[in-house]
């Protein structure tokens, strides 16, 4: 599936400033892996030292928040995947 990943401003320093990156993948996790392969510096924000996906990363497919269980559910051609880091500054 051709999927567009929208990159939040906090991650754009790792994607050479690109706001949208096109990838191919059958589900959000596959898309994320392709993105990491192209922009490996992003990985430290996405995974903890044990290699588990950090819980403070939120995923949205076509603007709807999805849970961790949905990360391996199939995507459709043309879907948009958006992920952001949870923040707490005041």
């Amino acid at each position: 599936m051709d999927v567009t990943i929208k990159i939040s401003s906090l991650f754009r320093k790792y994607t050479d400033g690109q706001e949208f990156v096109k990838v191919t993948g059958n589900n959000p996790m596959e898309c994320l892996h392709e993105l990491e392969a192209r922009f490996p510096k992003m990985k430290r924000w996405l995974y903890d030292k044990q290699g588990n996906l950090r819980p403070q990363v939120w995923f949205f497919v076509n603007g709807q928040k999805i849970s961790a269980d949905d990360l391996t559910k199939p995507l459709n051609n043309g879907d948009e995947l958006f992920f952001v880091l949870a923040i707490s500054g005041g």
Partner: protein, 271 residues
């Protein structure tokens, strides 16, 4: 009959109670009533469709708690005060530091070392003498949060997730709305929680980026104004709230985007 009582005790008690009620109603009416000076102060906003004098009276009667007198709190408090929210309670346990002053615009150089709540109260009362501001110097914890909130609408202007979760917990337990905002650098987020109806903070957060938070003052100003807007709309009963939606402000691209949230059926707080 007890010592010192008269035969007229009962009728007198009834009369006294009635008189007390009349006085209480009169005081409430006076408190609700807007003075000529207040009407002049709020003239421009009263012109907004759906607002009117009745809306302004609702604001005057409203009780709003702002948890945090920092970057978000500075913007929220300022705009709730000038809008005429009648009773504002500020909670913050910190003192003003030099490194706060790039964003916490309620405080200035001369306030360094003062309690943030005292500094904020002074500025707000100068901005609008028609409102009541209560300053509570306290660090929110599980032992005090329930009493501190009381029956106030809750504005989350905190800078840490544990305190935000405590406010969320009380909001859910007391069925009080919670107006949430958070910032990092040039990016900010906001959403409004209506317990029982919408996703709560626990449905959303499982953790946050660790470490010292970079931030430029304009970001909490933008997000704080959005939170204050939500509070005002909620009190007035107008417009569409930011419920089950997360507004994402990206100051670098100067774009606002929005994503949809939903209640987590397994949420430990609101399921």
């Amino acid at each position: 009959m007890t010592r010192g009582s008269t035969g007229n005790d009962k009728p007198n008690a009834v009369i006294s109670k009635s008189a007390f009620n009349i006085v209480a109603i009169a005081i409430e009416a006076i408190v609700k009533m807007l003075s000529k000076r207040e009407l002049a102060r709020y003239e421009r906003q009263i012109l907004i469709p759906g607002w009117s004098k009745a809306g302004q009276e609702k604001l005057k009667k409203a009780k709003v708690l702002v948890a945090g007198a920092g970057g978000l709190g500075s913007a929220i408090l300022t705009y709730l005060a000038v809008a005429g929210v009648g009773r504002i309670k500020i909670i913050d346990g910190d003192k003003v530091e030099l490194s706060n002053l790039n964003r916490q615009v309620l405080h200035s150089d001369k306030d360094i070392g003062r309690n943030k709540v005292d500094s904020a109260k002074e500025k707000l009362e100068a901005l609008n003498p028609h409102i009541s501001v209560e300053a509570v110097k306290a660090t929110i914890d599980e032992n005090n949060v329930f009493d501190l909130v009381g029956d106030y609408l809750i504005v989350d202007a905190m800078d840490n997730l544990p305190a935000r979760f405590l406010l969320n917990q009380v909001a859910v337990k007391k069925n009080l709305p919670l107006f949430h905002g958070a910032v990092y650098g040039f990016e900010g987020r906001a959403t409004t929680v209506i317990p029982g109806k919408t996703a709560c903070l626990r449905c959303l957060y499982q953790g946050v980026i660790p470490g010292k938070i970079p931030v430029v003052g304009v970001t909490p100003a933008v997000i704080g104004c959005i939170q204050a807007t939500e509070v005002i709309k909620y009190i007035l009963g107008i417009g569409e709230l930011l419920t089950d939606r997360l507004l994402i402000y990206d100051g670098i691209s100067m774009k606002f985007s929005e994503v949809r949230l939903k209640k987590d059926p397994n949420c430990c707080e609101c399921k």
